[in-house]
């Protein structure tokens, strides 16, 4: 669709750079080693947490859900074991997110992108999908050969089986996600009876589709193009940060090993040249398809599979390991944990965590809000009293009904009455609004604004909750 006009057309316009780079498909090769084992452990542990959590039970008494972790959207409550939050307490969620962010910064400062390489859901699910892929289609070379070859029965069934397995995993992922928002056993019962709400089906479809697309197709593109974190994580690095890196001084000049691989004394045989034998295994093992020997780069997710790959090769030819490894710019000495940024992140963690803990420990199970009437601000009554109207909103966060006796403090000769009676009753785990009128003799008012307090005394326990308010009256 390029329309060109005369002159000057000096160059072929198709030379313009493309808007999007073509994706080169990455065929990671299987490698074994300590980091691969660590990744398997992380994968099993994290998926276990993901699938088991909705089934944990937590007794909250009658009338309350007994699911340990539950976000109850229609009921407008969030449950996390002993913590129960109301929508107006969503700052606890903000606090948890801040804690997570600071913990991420701290981990990144200490050991680079360990979050990306080992625990990020994108990595975990991609790893799982790659494992399935390898199971069905074989390792790197077989997959490349089959992809290059014509479509035959063998290729067709293997591709079909792979995508079918991916879709099943994606469906289980999407289905389990729903369990965080609804009663898990009830949800499974609904599925068995085929009585699932269309909206829920829509959400399952959405999460199935995103899991399948992101872990099956997009993979490293998510890390390189979509995720904002790689773009600024380098800001947390310093000379002491241990990153997956290639020891250039030891490895270069690289070269094919040839007969050196069979040397009796490899260290002296390799004297005078680099230890890197340019076998390319670190590149083939990389799930994002980069060459770590080019240095630290955005697309490196720090999964350390190249470390495993290289260590295996080094062991075979009898050279010391860790030509590629977690290394800091400052050198291989034990990293200094007491650097300012580590301490700052630690202090922030303690501060935010402590604040949240104190907040949760001192969380009141009753909330009072007072809204003063604005039309009219006050009225004069026939007996000479001035009357102000208020709406009291009381939230009862306890699982038992509460009765309050209403009173005021700080006014002269006040009379208080509430629409609906003397006692303010709030249902268990509920909230209620009350119309309240306060009357004060005009002569007793010293100014237009008289601060006072509402005093709610709980019947039975005698516990008192107060809330500040202002009594408005005529001028003079």
């Amino acid at each position: 669709m390029n329309v060109h006009h005369q002159p000057p057309v000096l160059d072929d316009p198709t030379d313009l750079p493309p808007l999007f780079a073509d994706r080169r498909k990455v065929y990671p090769q299987r490698v074994g080693g300590q980091f691969r084992r660590l990744k398997w452990a992380a994968l099993i542990g994290l998926l276990g947490i993901y699938y088991v959590t909705p089934w944990l039970r937590w007794d909250r008494g009658p009338g309350a859900p007994d699911q340990a972790v539950l976000i109850d959207m229609p009921g407008r409550r969030g449950y996390f074991f002993f913590i129960e939050i109301w929508p107006q307490e969503v700052y606890y969620l903000a606090g948890a997110l801040i804690l997570g962010a600071v913990a991420l910064f701290l981990a990144t400062t200490l050991a680079g992108r360990v979050w990306c390489g080992f625990t990020c859901p994108q990595t975990v699910w991609t790893d799982l999908f790659m494992w399935v892929e390898r199971l069905v289609e074989g390792d790197r070379n077989q997959r490349m050969r089959r992809d290059a070859g014509p479509l035959g029965f063998d290729k067709a069934w293997r591709k079909a089986a792979k995508h079918a397995s991916w879709l099943v995993i994606a469906l289980l992922t999407g289905g389990a996600w729903i369990m965080y928002f609804t009663d898990a056993p009830g949800f499974v019962r609904d599925i068995v009876r085929l009585e699932v709400d269309p909206v829920v089906l829509g959400f399952i479809g959405l999460f199935t589709a995103t899991t399948y697309t992101l872990a099956g197709w997009a993979r490293e593109q998510v890390c390189v193009y979509m995720c904002p974190w790689p773009r600024f994580q380098a800001a947390m690095f310093d000379e002491q940060t241990r990153l997956v890196a290639y020891d250039e001084r030891r490895g270069e000049p690289r070269g094919k090993a040839g007969s050196l691989t069979r040397a009796e004394d490899p260290l002296s045989a390799f004297a005078g040249r680099g230890h890197c034998i340019d076998c390319g295994l670190c590149v083939r093992a990389c799930p994002t398809g980069i060459d770590i020997r080019d240095g630290n780069q955005l697309a490196c997710i720090g999964c350390a599979l190249c470390v495993d790959a290289c260590d295996g090769v080094m062991q075979k030819i009898g050279l010391p390991p860790k030509l590629i490894g977690f290394k800091s710019i400052a050198g291989d000495a034990r990293p200094n944990l007491f650097r300012p940024r580590v301490l700052v992140y630690l202090a922030l963690l303690l501060l935010v965590g402590g604040t949240m803990l104190v907040g949760l420990m001192t969380r009141r199970d009753v909330d009072v809000a007072v809204l003063a009437d604005r039309a009219p601000l006050f009225v004069t009554l026939s007996d000479g009293f001035i009357q102000d109207g208020y709406t009291l909103k009381i939230a009862n966060k306890r699982r038992a009904a509460r009765d309050y006796a209403l009173g005021v403090e700080g006014l002269t000769r006040p009379r208080v009455n509430a629409i609906g009676g003397e006692t303010l009753t709030i249902e268990p785990d509920g909230q209620a609004s009350f119309r309240v009128y306060v009357k004060v003799p005009r002569a007793a008012l010293k100014s237009e604004r008289t601060p006072f307090r509402f005093v709610l005394t709980e019947r039975g326990s005698g516990k008192v909750v107060t809330h500040d308010a202002v009594f408005l009256g005529p001028a003079g």
């Binding site: 669709m1 390029n2 329309v3 060109h4 006009h5 005369q6 002159p7 000057p8 057309v9 000096l10 160059d11 316009p13 313009l16 750079p17 493309p18 808007l19 780079a21 009437d373 604005r374 039309a375 009219p376 009225v379 004069t380 009554l381 026939s382 007996d383 000479g384 009357q387 109207g389 629409i419 609906g420 009753t425 209620a432 609004s433 119309r435 009128y437």
Partner: protein, 288 residues
């Protein structure tokens, strides 16, 4: 991926030149263009299934037969359906019983507030704060009684509304009809002001006015000036005035009284709404 340098002399231009200024030809990305074509195709489908083209006598209706008016009717019917159970309960009960039930009272206060905003606030003000000639509903001075049933009756039949059962009262025009002489009116005005206790009054004139009051006014407004809700006679001793408590206004009201009108709401609003309004107005601060 590198962006072309803006100074690249080899790039194609649009060919237009304005005083030596040329513009680079930067073609749209092809995906963008395909999306554009797709929207054109989509719009054709839209014309077919939705109302689209005007004609001289109407418009093309579309295969789906959609209209926003029908959608509104539907959603209103759905809302009515959702409320039906509650409103039925309210219809079956008298305001007194509604106010006694915590659940129904809450509903009536919310429903009454909405209906008040639409129908009553124009005269009585938001929150019933009233205005000159329009009674304050948030205080305890009631012309026709402040009990729930009184308020319900006033709401249903109105005041001087023309309804058969309307609240009716008329104060004689003591001045313009020549029932009292001007100096008598001045005296009785002084006496009425003295009942309110707030104003400074001429005690002698007030004493003379007391006799006139006992003869002419006490029948309706009571011996003590506290009014009679049965006949809609206002309390003159509370310091709360419908038209104003200054001397001129009080005298004018004796000479040629003004009489407010409130419409009857029975028939205009449905039964349940009038009941909810009664509960709401009663709860505005002055209900007895």
């Amino acid at each position: 991926m590198t962006m072309p340098s803006p100074k690249d002399e080899h790039r194609a231009t649009t060919g237009h030149e304005w005083d030596g200024i040329t513009e680079y030809d930067t073609p749209m990305p092809s995906w963008w263009l395909y999306v554009f074509y797709a929207t054109i195709v989509w719009s054709i489908g839209y014309w077919v299934v939705y109302p689209a083209w005007p004609s001289l006598s109407g418009y093309t209706k579309g295969l789906l037969g959609y209209s926003s008016r029908a959608e509104l009717v539907e959603s209103r019917a759905a809302a009515d359906q959702a409320r039906a159970g509650w409103l039925d309960r309210i219809r079956k009960l008298e305001p007194q019983a509604i106010a006694a039930d915590a659940e129904l009272r809450t509903l009536a206060l919310i429903g009454g507030k909405a209906a008040f905003g639409e129908n009553c606030a124009a005269c009585h003000g938001a929150g019933g704060q009233g205005g000159k000639g329009y009674p304050v509903l948030a205080d305890d001075a009631w012309l026709w009684g402040g009990k729930l049933d009184d308020i319900w009756t006033t709401l249903r039949y109105g005041v001087r509304s023309g309804h058969d059962k309307a609240r009716l009262s008329e104060m004689p025009k003591f001045g313009t009809d020549g029932l009292l002489k001007p100096d008598q009116i001045a005296d009785v005005g002084e006496y009425v002001l003295s009942l309110g206790k707030d104003a400074k009054v001429d005690d002698k004139a007030a004493a003379r006015g007391k006799a006139v009051y006992a003869e002419q006014c006490a029948v309706c407004h009571g011996d003590d000036g506290r009014g009679k809700a049965e006949v809609g006679a206002p309390n003159l001793a509370a310091g709360i005035w419908l038209y104003g408590g200054d001397r001129g206004t009080v005298l004018q009201q004796i000479r040629a009284p003004r009489h407010g009108v409130m419409p009857a709401w029975e028939g205009r609003l449905d039964d349940a709404t009038v009941k909810m309004l009664s509960v709401y107005v009663h709860a505005l601060g002055g209900g007895q």
